[in-house]
């Protein structure tokens, strides 16, 4: 039989207490928690269970694919449509660097963009129930997923860190 779980949500009005709460959580037995904020939360990465991102890798791979693809498109299509223009041979590598260069940037950027959307799971129209609208505006938030038996402990930890509001959502 699965243990009953609960979702605790805390709201913080300043970044200091939010960071403090995350610090306390990272040193506690809680492992399933999430942070929300209206600003880039890269600063708190060292306190979070998951770090880094595959976005740069995707962008690099996209850039390499774009470089090779556009260069090959230029070369191969010039071989098929081999009109001689200005007395030049249809395939000359140097001018094809320009399409390849643009292809590198285009595909790299598309890969980075798609990676952000896919990895962030930005597919829905409506935010989940754990989300508090104030998190996007002027507050920071933390949600903790824990066993029903640990609810009091989680609430106490968040309140002690300086949360303005703590509530059990589910």
């Amino acid at each position: 039989m699965m243990a009953e779980t609960a979702l605790i949500r805390a709201r913080f009005e300043d970044f200091g207490s939010f960071e403090h709460a995350l610090h306390a959580l990272s040193h506690s037995s809680f492992t399933d928690y999430e942070a929300y904020g209206p600003v880039n939360l890269a600063e708190i990465e060292y306190l979070m269970p998951r770090k880094g991102s595959a976005v740069r890798g995707c962008a690099t791979m996209g850039a390499v694919v774009g470089l090779v693809t556009l260069f090959l498109v230029s070369v191969l299509s010039s071989r098929i449509y081999d009109l001689v223009v200005g007395g030049k041979p249809p395939v000359t590598a140097l001018p094809f660097i320009i399409p390849a260069y643009e292809g590198t940037i285009l595909m790299g950027a598309i890969a980075a963009f798609v990676a952000v959307i896919a990895l962030s799971r930005l597919e829905g129209r409506n935010p989940p129930p754990a989300y508090d609208r104030r998190f996007g505006q002027d507050s920071f938030g933390i949600t903790v997923n824990c066993n029903a038996a640990e609810v009091d402990q989680a609430i106490e930890l968040l309140e002690r860190a300086g949360a303005a509001e703590v509530e059990k959502v589910e």
């Binding site: 600003v39 880039n40 939360l41 979070m48 998951r50 200005g86 000359t92 001018p95 950027a109 505006q137």
Partner: protein, 436 residues
Amino acid sequence: MFRGIDDAVLGSLGWPRPGYLLVLAVCALLVIVGAIGYAFQYFLGMGVSGLSIPVGWGTYITNFVFWVGIAHSGTLISAILYLFRTKWRNRINRSAEAMTIFAIMTAGLFPIIHLGRPWVFFWLLPYPNYRHLWPNFKSPLAWDVIAISTYFTVSLMFFYLGLIPDLAVARDRTKPGWRQKLYSILALGWTGRYEQWRHYARGYLALAALATPLVISVHSVVSWDFAMSLVRGWHTTIFAPYFVAGAIHSGLAMVIVLLILLRRPLGLERLLRVYEFEQMALLMIFTGSVVGYSYAVEAFLSWYSGDVFEQQFAAFRAFGSWAYSPLYWALIVFNVLLPMTFFVKSLRTDLRYLFVAAILVNVGMWLERFVIIVVSLGHDYLPSSWAAYAPRPVELLITGLSFGFFLILFLSFVKLFPSIAMGELKEQMLQQQEGK
């Protein structure tokens, strides 16, 4: 903590004031009149324009290069200044990015308008066909298409990615209705979760890093449309940096014009401070200096090369024509000398002066493209084929259409979406509070 920022920016999305509606009506009139002018050209043919041999490129290509140039400062402000961690960009980057998108859309009208038979424009597209038509990848015109479409796509993604967190705030603070539905769809369910921010921050940085060389490459490629040909006044290696600097110069001037125009009607005086305009003016001193240096080098090399054709052409452009020479000197005054007045603090902090100066810089940059294109084509190696060109009414109406079209898009944007990047401004505020 950040409520003031949200209130000010989202407050600007309210019902427009009469002045805004009046400007919108004038723009709509420009578009309608310009569309009538284009209808004349469409049904009667290109003969209604002033284009003829040898001046086959005239006002339309001038407008195309001008609008592509305008598009440049958006990504400069967004990408390059972001990589340099320049804080003043945070208040103007959204408007500059939107300006970039709309300026490229406006520029994109002109290759079609310039076509003699626009109804077969799809022949320009690369698809297997019996006419054996395929892009010639050795041609700067093919590079141009690839570069500008890449620039548009990357700028659009960069713009949209930056907009997502702010769209979520707008979604959360808007009353139920069509606006909230629109923001909900476009915000893609953004919640500001750490999981989202950690990918977002790296993606935004990656896009900025990719967009930076793109800014340099796109107008370089546009300049090669001219520099790769053997026309006098075009065939020079300085064209690429000269065009890039000119594009950024005109783009900055356009951002200044638009933001000064809009800060009061949108109630954004507190966020769009004189300081931001001052920084842009200082940047214009730099770009104006590069442009001035390019003009000087162009003239110097005409003489130093010992090429009699180049020497004759440079002399003709500066002194030889009652029609064109005043335009040449006007562009030097507007693009180089006028921005140098920004060295005086009292002038660069006076928004009325800055507004007028920025408009004149844009006039100067348009004239620069006009002089480059028209004077060179009309004054080639064969004196018997020399000719003069002046835009006909249809071309002027279509030029007006482009301004109306651009302004309608921009004015609609500032009333529909947050015109200041709230998320980045909040981050900057937080850093200030933490003493970073």
